[in-house]
């Protein structure tokens, strides 16, 4: 296990280096943002001075190494536009995205696995209903669900806020209220995805010989399902859940916009559109670290659940 973990960590470090290097080199192709920074009246001298200040007059490789030297010490630089430290900017956005992504993932995991398990075991009408709902869940855009939820629960009933994020430290109840609608909008699609995958995985396991044997030996139904069937079907469900989580990190931009919650997604979009390179690189680092961590955790969980994986 330790050997596997070390190998994974080493691979993660190499991947992180490669992705940041590629991102940094790609940003060298972005049009020079100094005109936007200084405004249309800036003189040529002022533009040159700004380019020098930002390091844009140095080769891309040299700029990357300079950034890397700071990054390994935890210094991700300063936003070219706001003047705020990148780490501070990301730290302000991370709890928002993390709250949304974790809550939406938990909701989709719990509901998706429960629905998927029920459909695979019960079959019949429930199964067909689930499959129909799953198709609907895939087809209906999150944007539409979000708007519908806002109109009903915020504008008409006024039960929940239409916009904004409340920090947990500020008000735990307010935090929960601010999450309900965006999480519901995000989870609407992913519950369907998790349920459909879980249903297929459970159905496949249920058809195995050893399940029939265990059933024949009189093993209680709940024990058979939880201990043997779900455990073997879990890797599939876990993989889907982890993919959903990773997708939420960057894919929640639209939902963030509609609910006016400023998370990493909107930060990445805004920074990329105005070529705020230090922030773009910072978001990439954090995003890659999160993805690598989630993947590592899922792999470890899967290998714990399924001994066959460990021997590969």
């Amino acid at each position: 296990m330790i050997k596997q973990l070390s190998r994974r960590l080493l691979g993660a470090a190499v991947l992180l280096l490669a992705i940041t290097a590629i991102t940094s080199l790609l940003t060298a192709l972005v049009p020079d943002p100094t005109h936007n920074l200084l405004g249309p009246t800036a003189t040529a001298e002022q533009i040159l001075a700004k380019q020098h200040e930002l390091g844009l007059d140095r080769p891309a490789g040299e700029r990357y190494l300079g950034w890397l030297a700071g990054a390994v010490r935890g210094d991700l630089g300063v936003s070219w536009f706001t003047g705020l430290p990148v780490a501070e900017t990301i730290a302000a956005r991370l709890p928002v995205t993390a709250s949304l992504a974790v809550a939406a993932t938990l909701v989709s995991a719990v509901l998706g696995i429960a629905f998927g398990l029920a459909a695979a075991v019960r079959r019949g009408a429930l199964d067909r209903l689930l499959q129909a709902v799953a198709v609907l869940g895939f087809a209906v855009p999150g944007l539409w669900v979000a708007l519908l939820l806002i109109i009903v629960f915020a504008v008409q009933l006024r039960w929940l806020p239409a916009t904004g994020y409340v920090a947990f430290a500020e008000s735990p109840a307010g935090w929960a209220r601010s999450l309900v609608l965006p999480v519901a909008a995000i989870a609407a699609g992913s519950v369907a995805a998790v349920a459909a995958q879980t249903r297929n995985a459970v159905a496949a396991v249920l058809a195995r010989d050893y399940v029939r044997t265990l059933r024949g030996r009189g093993l209680p139904r709940w024990r058979l399902l939880l201990r043997h069937v779900l455990r073997n079907a879990a890797p599939t469900a876990l993989t889907v859940v982890s993919l959903q989580f990773i997708g939420l990190l960057g894919g929640a931009v639209v939902v963030e916009q509609i609910f006016a919650v400023n998370g990493l997604g909107s930060l990445a979009a805004a920074s990329a559109s105005r070529a705020d390179i230090p922030v773009v690189l910072g978001v990439v680092v954090v995003g890659v670290l999160i993805v690598l961590t989630v993947n590592l955790i899922v792999d470890l969980l899967v290998s714990w659940l399924d001994p066959k994986v460990r021997t590969r």
């Binding site: 405004g39 806002i150 915020a154 806020p161 239409a162 916009t163 509609i258 006016a260």
Partner: protein, 506 residues
């Protein structure tokens, strides 16, 4: 179309806002209402020397006082300066400062602080630098007297001093202003109760000493860049007031919110290559007039802004001295006349024109314009421009003309920007003897003479067809009528923080 559309939506809606809940405690211990404003964008900088567009104006006005105060008719009244006087040549402006003003950090306001602020604005690249570009020198000529020497007469300077360029910050805080504002305005920013990028809380500045009253004990400004989010926040009661899309008018009325429409942006084509450097046909007045006749402004208004606006053929703001309502009938939609004018100009078969297009702000506009100009013989080819480069490329003289939305404000400022030879929005720096002569006259004219001269300038530019304006759009400002009063003139372009009053106050 980019920044301008957003900025305008902003400028006009800057301080749409808010919620009145009880909260802050007044001087006598009485609870003062809180105002929660929805603002169309996050603040771009807290540093007035860098300068900020319309989106940031409302935030900065909460913490900074400016040298002069803008009136609804674009005249100015005292601010940090109580008096001012020009010399006979109108190139030296002497400001007398208000006494007893203290910044929120305890530093007293004096002439040296004002000089340092203006000097800093002149030395820092950005919008403030360009706004103050006419200043040759600033001196503190007494403890409460500042003398500004101009390169040439600048009738727009007092207006500029009422906006961000005239906001005065504590000199002790210069190094950290970008993120931590320190001014002498009615409020101070409470960073502990704010979330950067999302929501900013302002509490009363106990040292505020200017006469303009502010009725709320606490102000919260929420940045809601998405217009739908802003509408939902207003309709669900999360904010007490805000600017929302005109299309939400039925819901606003059904929801019982008070509302008013406000002047919006002037949409149209800027024919900047007036000398025909890139597109020779545009040098001919009749070609430019043909473009004006060839675009169906009313039709475009319906298609793009659902009819919420009014026809314009001029670039100056309604209600300002230069504006002339009668000019708006100068170019009725008449494709036959447009074709005749093109033929008379020597282009009976039309010509090809390359224009920029963007897909972020008004994407629906471009195919309509191409189709209508195509009908009179002008074959338009678009070159897409990425949204963050629009202003940069448009103002670099890369294109002979472009579609753009503009917030017209003070006449001299607008004329300096897009008519004068050196104007930033005159990218080919086209010079016209008549325009330059009129600008010279206006720059030294007294108040009585300035109006007729500005109208003459406006009429000349419309006849020259340097632009093909289409319409002025409208914005919708909504507020909770049981909590907030908006005290602003009927067609006021900007509604500022000071214009919001608690209903409970007289």
């Amino acid at each position: 179309m980019p920044s301008s559309r957003v900025a305008a939506a902003t400028l006009a809606l800057v301080l749409t806002a808010t919620a009145c809940s009880s909260g802050a405690s007044g001087p006598a211990g009485t609870a003062e209402p809180t105002l929660t404003l929805a603002v169309a964008a996050d603040v771009s900088t807290w540093d007035p020397a860098v300068g900020a567009g319309g989106n940031s104006l409302g935030y900065l006005q909460a913490v900074y006082s400016s040298l002069t105060t803008l009136n609804p008719d674009f005249s100015v009244s005292p601010g940090l300066a109580t008096r001012w006087a020009y010399d006979a040549a109108k190139t030296t402006l002497t400001l007398t400062l208000r006494e007893g003003v203290t910044f929120s950090d305890g530093t007293p306001l004096d002439a040296e602080a004002v000089r340092a602020n203006l000097r800093r604005g002149l030395d820092t690249p950005g919008a403030t630098q360009s706004a103050l570009a006419g200043i040759a020198d600033v001196q503190a000529t007494g403890p409460a007297e500042v003398t500004i020497t101009l390169k040439k007469p600048d009738p727009g300077l007092l207006y500029q001093l009422s906006m961000v360029p005239g906001m005065i910050a504590s000199p002790k805080a210069f190094a950290t202003l970008k993120t931590h504002p320190v001014g002498s305005g009615p409020y101070v920013l409470d960073l502990t109760a704010s979330t950067r990028g999302t929501s900013y809380t302002f509490v009363r500045n106990p040292r505020y000493s200017l006469p303009t009253p502010y009725g709320f004990g606490k102000v919260v400004m929420k940045a809601l860049p998405d217009t739908n989010a802003m509408a939902n926040a207003a309709l669900s009661g999360q904010v007490d007031a805000g600017g929302v899309p005109m299309a939400t008018l039925p819901q606003v009325e059904a929801g019982g919110l008070a509302h008013r429409t406000m002047p919006g942006l002037i949409m149209g084509m800027w024919i900047v290559d007036r000398a025909g450097k890139l597109a020779p046909p545009l040098a001919k007045q009749k070609v430019r007039q043909a473009i004006n006749h060839g675009l169906d402004a009313e039709g475009i208004l319906k298609a793009v802004d659902k009819g919420h606006g009014s026809r314009r053929t001029q670039m100056f703001a309604a209600g300002t001295p230069a504006y002339d309502e009668t000019l708006n009938t100068r170019y009725p939609y008449d494709p036959d006349k447009a074709r005749r004018l093109l033929a008379e100009a020597g282009y009976p078969d039309g010509f090809e024109l390359t224009l920029p297009s963007e897909n972020t702000y008004v994407p629906a506009l471009y195919p309509i314009v191409a189709q209508q100009l195509g009908q009179i013989g002008i074959k338009v080819t678009y070159k897409p421009v990425t949204s963050n480069l629009i202003t940069q490329q448009y103002l670099a003289g890369t294109y002979p003309a472009f579609m753009y939305t503009y917030t017209a404000t003070e006449n001299w400022l607008d004329a300096s920007l897009f008519l004068a030879k050196g104007g930033v929005f005159n990218p080919f720096h086209t010079e016209d003897a008549k325009v330059e002569g009129l600008l010279d006259e206006i720059s030294v004219a007294d108040d009585a003479a300035r109006g007729p001269l500005l109208r003459e300038l406006n009429a000349y530019v419309v006849e020259q067809a340097w632009f093909a304006p289409l319409y002025a759009s409208r914005n919708l400002l909504v507020w909770k009528k049981d909590k907030v009063k908006v005290e602003a003139a009927a067609d006021q372009l900007f509604v500022f923080l000071r214009d919001y009053r608690p209903v409970s106050s007289s």
